[in-house]
């Protein structure tokens, strides 16, 4: 009979050691501004390798048997809108998970307490598993879906797509911030607050659209996230044992509340409202249930006893939910040639549902879908992007286009820092920049690369062309008499132009410097 979990866990902990052959500076590599000395951490899952591998093997057995069965049973094709949209979503998930694995290795090295380190190491293995599961899901879709174009360039798309910049900016921010702050960004906000909406909530949508493979993939991944949530909670309450950490934790919570809302929160909202057909709840309802009721009400609120206050922009976040998915859809559908999936625009039934769930939707967003409908036939030489006045500016913190909360009344602004003009989508992102400007110095923006290029040149450079060398991967409709080609784009006579910067705003002041700078 194997040893009991609690006894084995204590035994494993007892063999931790400090190496004599290198100094602490060499061992930890990076310092942190948080205070860690003398803290007494907890690991509620008490995970160690023997139990971990047994559990993960069982999960793999269950998941891959679903894939095997689906290959044999041919239960009918999944929904086309869903399968096309997942070209964009799945490619980005795989790269985000891989980056999360890198982050856990970094945290395990930089955050000293053994109990936390143990949890981070298991999480690093989890994230590698998730990347493989998602890549395998992409491969499965390439083999079985009617139109594999787009799935075959998934990683390229995640690397150079203008919309994927949102995911890249989010996950690189988590990777390059303070290694302890990484826990607050990733484990508290991305994994506890927001991943449930997608990995659990959207698993039901995947099943409702006949995509049983992805439903199984999402749920087997989320079963690991349960431990990641516990890692985040353990790290947070450990940090809060030292009063000097309270203002540092508060600052990180304030940042990541907004930062995750504009990135993962936006992707969740877009997927829930615009990539589905057999809908159950709206993106706003899902966010209110998972993020604002369960996370903020059942988790965050309980931090009050440590002196933690609500994030200052929470009301603004909730207010944005009325428009978040719809403005995101204007961008993703409006810029369809820059993507690598066939778009399925809203039907009359979809629009009725959107109006019912978001009263006033027709008045705020109906105009876009009217314009879109007039620009789908390649013979008309009309591209909706041109009709809308071209692509907007992009936020230098989160990479959102400057169309939020709505394209007609966006909160974009600019600010001069160190002699250079910087552009932001909102006061929240400007504030994040002001508190840590060096972190957000961009190399080359989309407009640095493509200003003055024709639409056809941009799409060719990105590689979003099918195997025949002329048909576009992205299309404005699921099915049409003939698909758009790069020659059709040339005939539209559209040249990418850098928009004028928005005016500055004066409502953001730097947060007062907080004490910190502790090492290990």
């Amino acid at each position: 009979m194997s040893m009991q979990i609690t006894r084995a866990y204590d035994r494993v902990k007892a063999i931790d050691w400090e190496p004599s052959y290198i100094g602490k500076d060499q061992k930890y590599v990076e310092s942190t501004r948080f205070f860690l000395k003398g803290l007494k951490p907890v690991d509620p899952f008490k995970t160690f390798l023997r139990e971990y591998f047994k559990m993960e093997q069982e999960k793999e057995n269950r998941h891959y048997s679903v894939l095997e069965a689906s290959s044999r049973l041919h239960s009918g094709p999944p929904d086309a809108r869903w399968m096309e949209s997942m070209k964009f979503i799945l490619s980005n998930l795989a790269t985000v998970e891989y980056a999360a694995g890198r982050q856990m290795g970094r945290m395990a090295r930089s955050v000293a307490p053994m109990e936390l380190r143990q949890g981070y190491m298991m999480q690093m293995l989890d994230e590698m598993r998730h990347t493989q599961l998602e890549m395998n899901n992409i491969r499965q879709n390439m083999r079985t879906w009617e139109d594999p174009a787009g799935y075959d360039i998934a990683l390229r798309g995640a690397g150079n797509n203008v919309g994927a910049g949102l995911f890249r900016a989010m996950i690189e921010d988590v990777t390059t911030c303070d290694p302890v702050e990484t826990s607050i960004g990733l484990q508290i906000f991305i994994e506890t607050a927001y991943s449930n909406v997608f990995f659990v909530g959207m698993s039901a949508a995947a099943a409702a659209h006949g995509d049983n493979t992805l439903a199984s993939t999402l749920l087997t991944i989320q079963s690991d996230e349960s431990r990641h949530m516990a890692n985040g909670w353990a790290t947070l309450v450990t940090l809060l044992q030292d009063d000097r950490n309270i203002p540092l934790v508060q600052q990180a919570l304030d940042k990541w509340s907004w930062r995750t809302h504009v990135s993962f929160g936006l992707a969740n909202a877009l997927s829930q409202d615009y990539f589905t057909k057999n809908r159950t709840e709206s993106a706003k309802e899902a966010a209110m249930r998972w993020v604002y009721d369960e996370f903020f009400g059942g988790f965050y609120q309980k931090l009050e006893r440590y002196g933690i206050k609500p994030p200052p922009r929470m009301e603004e976040q909730i207010a944005e939910l009325d428009n978040l998915s719809h403005s995101a859809a204007v961008y993703v559908f409006g810029a369809w040639p820059f993507f690598y999936h066939r778009a399925d625009p809203m039907t009359a039934a979809d629009m009725d549902w959107l109006e019912k769930k978001y009263p006033g939707w027709h008045g705020r967003f109906g105009w876009f879908w009217d314009s879109y409908a007039k620009c789908t036939d390649p013979n008309d030489r009309a591209i909706v992007l041109k009709e809308l006045g071209g692509l907007p500016n992009f936020c230098e913190v989160c990479q959102r286009p400057l169309i939020f909360p709505t394209p007609q009344a966006h909160s974009g602004r600019s600010r001069v820092h160190a002699g250079k003009n910087h552009i932001f989508c909102s006061a929240g992102c400007e504030e994040i920049f002001v508190n840590d400007p060096i972190h957000y110095q961009v190399g080359k923006s989309f407009y640095d690369l493509y200003h003055g290029c024709t639409l056809a040149e941009v799409v060719e450079h990105m590689g979003y062309i099918r195997d025949d060398g002329r048909t576009l991967m992205g299309q404005p409709l699921l099915r049409q008499n003939r698909m758009w080609t790069v020659d059709d784009l040339r005939r539209c006579d559209y040249v990418v132009q850098r928009p004028a910067p928005p005016p500055p705003a004066d409502d953001v002041k730097p947060v007062q410097e907080t004490a910190g700078g502790a090492a290990h």
């Binding site: 979990i5 990995f199 079963s223 909670w233 009400g297 059942g298 309980k302 609500p310």
Partner: protein
């Protein structure tokens, strides 16, 4: 006392990957917690309670007719709300102390 703007939730939940194991877990938990509620979302079941959820793995194994242990339970636990504690033969989820 609560934060302005934050609606306090006392609910404890366990989201279980739907299937035979999850059905057995739910049957045992509903018998032990008559006030608990189960919502079926198709791919997963949400077990919700206004108090702690205490999973005794021997009881679940009895319902299933086979040995059931912590790793087997964690295989189907997709997510939860509350504070989790894993012991040798039990898993508990309780409201985070406020």
């Amino acid at each position: 006392m609560t934060h302005a703007g934050l609606k306090v939730s006392h609910k404890v939940t366990a989201k279980l990957i739907n299937g035979g194991d999850a059905e057995a877990v739910v049957a045992v938990m509903l018998a032990a917690n008559p006030s608990a509620v189960v919502k079926d979302y198709g791919s997963y079941l949400s077990l919700e309670n206004e108090g702690p959820l205490f999973f005794n793995l021997a009881d679940i194994g009895e319902e299933l007719g086979r040995k059931y242990d912590v790793p087997a339970f964690l295989t189907i636990l997709a997510s939860y709300t509350g504070q989790i504690d894993v012991q040798d033969d039990t898993v508990s989820i309780a409201e985070i102390a406020g």
